[in-house]
């Protein structure tokens, strides 16, 4: 397998270091351009398995003019974001809801829950 180079901008802190990662498949061979270890760690994950926190809204049963804000309890694989959105779009919650109640558990088999970010009576 041939090696590939990826430019990755660190988003851990506002400094935004530009890093270059060289790797093969999932394996990272070298990282340059980072300033601290948090950046190195970010580059390793971002190269092989980029993850993102997903935030969106869910319909509430019997409510037509308001939405419940929700988030993934932890970061989700980036390539699964659109699949997760599709499931969330089909969901409707019953009230009341408390902040951090699980709305969808183990979404798309990722092991991550979608939780409410607000309480609604």
């Amino acid at each position: 397998m041939s090696t590939i180079k990826k430019e990755i901008i660190c988003t851990v802190c506002p400094r935004g270091c530009h890093m270059e990662v060289e790797g093969q498949g999932d394996q990272v061979i070298s990282v340059t351009g980072y300033t601290c270890n948090r950046g190195l760690e970010y580059a390793n994950t971002e190269f092989a398995h980029p993850v993102r926190i997903l935030t969106t809204t869910v319909k509430m049963a019997g409510v037509s003019n308001d939405l419940l804000p929700v988030r993934s309890a932890s970061p989700l694989p980036k390539e699964k974001l659109f699949d997760c959105m599709e499931v969330i779009r089909q969901t409707e919650v019953k009230l009341p809801v408390a902040c951090h109640d699980v709305i969808i558990s183990n979404i798309c088999g990722t092991g991550v829950d979608i939780v409410a970010t607000k309480s609604v009576e």
Partner: protein
Amino acid sequence: MFEINCDVVIIGGGPAGLAAAIGAKEEGAEKVLIIERDNALGGILQQCIHPGFGLTRFKEELTGPEFYGKFVDRAKELGVEYMLNSMVLSVDHENSQVICVSSEKGMTCVHAGSIVLAMGCRERTRANIVTPGTRPAGLYTAGAAQRLVNRQNIMVGKKVVILGSGDIGMIMARRMSLEGAKVVCVVELMSYLAGLTRNRVQCLDDFGIPLKLAHTITRIEGNERVTGVWVAPVDENKVPIKEQEEFIECDTVLFSVGLLPENELTRKAGIAINPITNGPEVNQYMQTSVPGVFACGNVVHVNDLADNVSEESARAGKYAAQYAMKKLPTSTGTVTCVTGRNVRYLCPQKIQKAEGSEKVSLYFRVLNPELGVKLVAKCGDEIIAQKKAFRVNPGEMDHIAVDTAKLTTDAITVEVVKED
């Protein structure tokens, strides 16, 4: 007219108003009242459902609702009172009262020991920046679109062009993409990004949305609904290069071209306004030119981080409570804060000297991005504080702390100097 008495009255129930109320209560004010025109507390953060809040204050990454939720809980715990669906119409500082109209009580006069302004900001609109063309449907400010999509379940369009690379615009680019819309591009007049780099990575790059730096929209087409926009690169004087104009098809244009503090009430009350921030001038107590009136949050200067808003607002609440209890330190002199090289504005604009010494943080924004610099605070030729900065950027607020005991002149200058 219905009448209410309280120690501290706060206008606006966003993160600034909530933090000020908590600060006032914790300082010992007995009756603290928030007046909010919306039907819920939380301000603009009710529609900011994305993460990125609270990293400095709570050491975790919260969404807007989670962030203000913590303040609402604390305010309720402390017994802060609030009136919703109530709009303040005027601030009468001579009689230390505010007049509001509430759906429940009608016209109401609130007498208070001190008043805190926390009305936030509103967005610049197309009218503020004048884009030529027709006025069809499909034109929104990014924040208005954010409110419609996130709070009212109304999708604003399918094919979107965004003018301005501010954070709200980029965050809406991601939001619209996740909801199935196509964001064609983000157009930015300046040659650099207006918002945070992390938002470019996570909101534009992740979704393959092109960013056109040093470009602008020259015309908007469409009669009833937007059908497209003309986009052209700009030369070094920001003048569009007509020959390179191209047509981009879209049904929606979002304007993310900055925020303006909401200061109609402040102006009407005759409180001194700073021409650069468009907000009231304040000292380190967040006290305006009128002694009984304090101000905090986006009404004073546009903050990029709600964390900063809550810090300065807690301070406003604390000193407003002290003022109401007649405990505010007696001033022994005033020092004016002056902008030096590459500093656009400073907040606070004045420092009150008092018995003893105190650390005061001076917040500021630079005019131009620079790398490898030193931030310096000087009284005359004497340097009283300095620190290194790897990078300064107009989009990110900086600060430098000074010791009031070291203020030997009646002016202090803050400047950004190149490191050799």
